[in-house]
Symmetry: C2
Subunit: 567 residues, 2 copies
């Protein structure tokens, strides 16, 4: 899953390794997917020798980023390759342990940036489970046998239903604070208070009790949904599977499409995908992602779409964009800003949007749109400055236009470049931009977030759907940040990017995390914006990561030494 290239800070072991997010079940080391009719079982059986980096063993079903990359892949495949599945069981392949959570030696030896990005990705994977449940009707059930600790319990928390075996020893716990002086980093606290709505003093007891809670009290405190003695466990599981399967809205007898491996050419300063290119300007610390519009009209109908499968343009592009973003996040830490560009015909993009809209009741069309939703959310949560440049020859329309509104700033050329006879760039809004299909983590569309303070602008944007908007009109509608003519274009953007990339990366991360998500908060924004920020803070404090801190001293037999001043 890793290959040596020149990427600094990537792994805990100081070995420069490129982390690859592409995998498939034939290569899994830690998970097994078993599908039987409408029920799938994801078996977690971590190979302790197969850590992503050197220097630690993944004992007791503990995990690192490599384990989670497989899980994310499995969740994705269940949606696309196994649409017949209505219930997914999450179980441990080990005897006395469900999952010990994130591997502590891995955390202790990781750079701050890796810890933070690891937590972000695991959070996104947990969210993808909740998304599958909410929008694809695949219900997840966790069967806890053995100890389910920390990140293990956080994984369970992301599922719809938790069954705990009542055997006198199996337990759920969040021992991060008492054991490691850090917080659960994968949404645990927020899901305890806001999803399971555990009473706050019970939550306090739970999160400060290293050994966790077992048996009936776990159910009484709403930490799990059901407890069953060993002898009745399988009966209880089967009953829940039947119940959830019967309630699932998924159509029966449908067949999935294979998620073929992505075609990629990885070079030192570029990544080339069929529909997308990434170019790195390492001196300027910029990555330019150019998305290419479709080169053929949409398929004639759902059957033709199914036949195209993973090659269906919107699906292929979404997967490529996702991979490119993850690559930059984990492997290109020095890149300060991502510049989005596009090439193609806006009307062709809109034709695909219209196709998806027309067939949105078809499971695959829905899954493709849901995939775009998740990829765009991933972009919103990427801690790099995001800039969209709208130039002649671009196709910022409909779904692709979301990249204008996901960006921290956007610039659009007025008219043509001197010596370039391509027609002036046009932005075209689609229903997808003004509707609710592609919400951000705050639950609002990007345009609704943008226009929180000016509802009339949202209405004007709705009225402009389908219209070809030149730079001045787009600026007047508030859709872009600045419209510039050819004379100013190059200098203004160069100066802006030079200034931007000179700022403190930490300060920018905090600034962007605040400015991108105005308006309402949801469980997701609480997890990413609140819990994560506290966790990041604690991950920097000597009480956790200093030479005498709890993370460093874990397993040494020595107790950590804390500076006891409260902040």
């Amino acid at each position: 899953m890793t290959q040596a290239v020149d990427a600094k800070h990537a792994g805990p072991s100081q070995t420069a390794q490129r982390i690859d997010f592409q995998t498939d079940p034939s290569r899994y080391r830690h998970w097994e997917i078993q599908v039987e009719g409408e029920v799938a079982t994801l078996v977690m059986d971590v190979d302790e020798k197969a850590g992503l980096f050197e220097g630690y063993e993944l004992k007791l079903n503990s995990y690192d980023l490599g384990v989670d990359i497989e899980l994310a892949d499995a969740v994705q495949r269940l949606r696309f390759e196994h649409p017949e599945v209505k219930v997914v069981l999450l179980r441990s392949g080990k005897d006395r342990v469900f999952c010990a959570g994130a591997n502590i030696r891995m955390l202790a030896s990781s750079s701050h940036a890796l810890k933070v990005n690891f937590c972000k990705f695991t959070n996104e994977t947990r969210n993808s489970i909740e998304d599958a449940s909410a929008f694809s009707g695949q219900k997840y059930v966790t069967v806890v046998t053995g100890s389910c600790a920390g990140g293990g319990y956080e994984l369970a928390l992301a599922t719809d239903y938790i069954i705990l075996v009542d055997d006198g020893s199996s337990s759920v716990s969040l021992p991060e604070l008492p054991l490691l002086a850090v917080l659960p980093g994968t949404g645990g606290l927020t899901r305890v208070t806001d999803k399971r709505r555990v009473r706050r003093d019970h939550a306090d007891v739970f999160c400060t009790t290293e050994e966790g809670i077992k048996g009936r009290r776990a159910a009484e405190w709403r930490l799990v949904d059901e407890v069953a003695p060993n002898s009745k466990l399988e009966t209880a599981v089967a009953a829940r599977v039947r119940e959830f399967a019967a309630a699932s809205p998924r159509p029966a007898g449908i067949k999935g499409v294979a998620m073929a491996p992505l075609e990629r050419r990885i070079a030192a300063n570029s990544r080339e995908y069929p529909h997308l290119s990434v170019e790195f300007d390492r001196e300027a610390r910029l990555a330019t992602i150019t998305l290419r519009g479709p080169d053929a009209p949409p398929p004639e109908g759902p059957e033709a779409m199914l036949a195209q499968g993973a090659a269906f343009w919107p699906l292929a592009l979404a997967r490529e964009l996702d991979d490119a973003i993850l690559d930059i996040r984990l492997n290109e830490l020095e890149i300060a800003a991502i510049v989005f560009k596009s090439q193609g015909d806006p009307q062709s993009v809109l034709a695909y949007d219209a196709f998806l809209e027309r067939h949105i009741e078809h499971w695959l069309a829905r899954e493709v749109r849901l995939e775009w939703k998740r990829v765009l959310k991933r972009i919103d949560l990427t801690s790099r400055s995001l800039v969209t440049l709208i130039e002649p020859g671009s196709c910022f329309a409909g779904t692709i236009a979301e990249l204008i509104f996901a960006a921290d700033r956007s610039y659009m050329l007025i008219g043509q470049f001197s010596g370039d006879n391509r027609a002036p760039a046009m932005v075209v809004l689609g229903n997808v931009n003004v509707g609710d299909d592609l919400p951000m983590s705050n639950g609002l569309s990007r345009l609704a977030t943008r226009f929180l303070g000016e509802p009339q602008s949202l209405e004007q944007a709705s009225n402009a759907v389908g219209e070809e908007l030149d730079a001045e009109r787009a600026e007047a509608l508030g859709l872009i940040t600045f419209a510039l003519d050819d004379i100013d274009w190059e200098d203004e953007i160069r100066v802006f990017l030079e200034e931007r990339t000179s700022f403190s990366p930490d300060g920018l991360t905090g600034l962007e995390a605040n400015l991108r998500f105005g308006g309402p908060e949801t469980m997701e924004t609480k997890i990413f914006a609140r819990l994560t920020a506290w966790q990041n803070w604690i991950f920097q404090r000597p009480n956790a990561v200093g030479p005498e801190g709890a993370l460093k001293r874990y397993g040494t037999g020595q107790k950590p030494a804390f500076d006891m001043a409260r902040t």
Copy 2:
């Protein structure tokens, strides 16, 4: 404003100083209150030689905690001493500057704990301005003449209306990121996105532009409400004052009550107030706050309440509690937990609650309840473990019972202590506990937050209002964490407190900040829980506070050197 006592880490200058939050206008060094009929003017004219600590000068109307202690006092006095005031103007007493924000040398030389607690207090002061506007009908108007930068603009953001003079140089700005590599620490980003709802890309430009925005663009981007040329400024101000005064719901011709100085006896290990005692067990790192119930029945009516003035029991106790909490926050950093106890007759407490309820339309009764709301919010936001012990002789009823629900955990004795003939403790709920008068920052009452996951428990609590609840009944209703008998009491609580105080203080701060505020988010929780957490993180990062960081190098002529890896 400071006096030398033994308090570590308190100030940036390493001098051990006790920070005192009590002041009055005769002692102000930085502010002036001018009251003319229904209009008050708060003039900020910072004495640069009168910093709270040594080592910096408060140039250009920059501020430190001492300046903000005076502002908080002034806002409070305007409500209690000048209820006739309907509009408050905020103006600068300096010529070319409105306010340069928090003093940078002070920040650069402050301990992390002081920086964080300084920001928290300034946030609470800004919130108290918004509270006065929303609930006391005192509208705040900022008149910006000169440069209004960073914390200066954040102060303006807390007011209802901002008028900016359009003189070619006066401007508003949040230069923290470009200048200092940190974030605005007093709610600036959240108020820009959520209160003024500035478009996110405009906010991005604004927050990365060191020199800020002036003139018409500031109004077009909603950063200010109005711009006026110099020649028309006073006319514009007068027009707004008339408009807001005419719309104010405040009754005319009422006279305030004097906020007499608090009586306090400060000793090495205790603080003694008329209605409250604080005892420090420094070895155990505990502060025990004992609140005492009233020793006389409530006054006969509003006139008698006015005659009692600051001696009116609920008002006196609220002010004492507020002072005690702030003292612990800033001067007692090694104290890990605050233990709340009470002494008195529950029915007497309820009689005062009933008095306030009966006269809630009277301005003073309303102000007293609003003061309790603010003090309890301050407790919710205090980064120490909060524990309430309910023992025989206590008076946890009505308003005082909120301390049970504000605590991270509560313990109640079943029956009597051996050898103690006082009657068993009883908790008595009042309307104030089950209503909406004392919301937390999340907008919900403490009981509604507690029972997010079990609405039936909230209803049961409502049905139990007025009932004397013994420990077992209180536990059954979910109002306390644990009911213990005499045999277990001492050991259980000792073991719990020993364990609690052995945990990492940083981890506890993050844990409690997450568990205390389940449910909805508001602008306040966004500021305290999200923006603050990011700011805390950045305040720890070498890019800000390291030897080559921006805070350290500010003013040296040397540019900061950043580690450019994004996190």
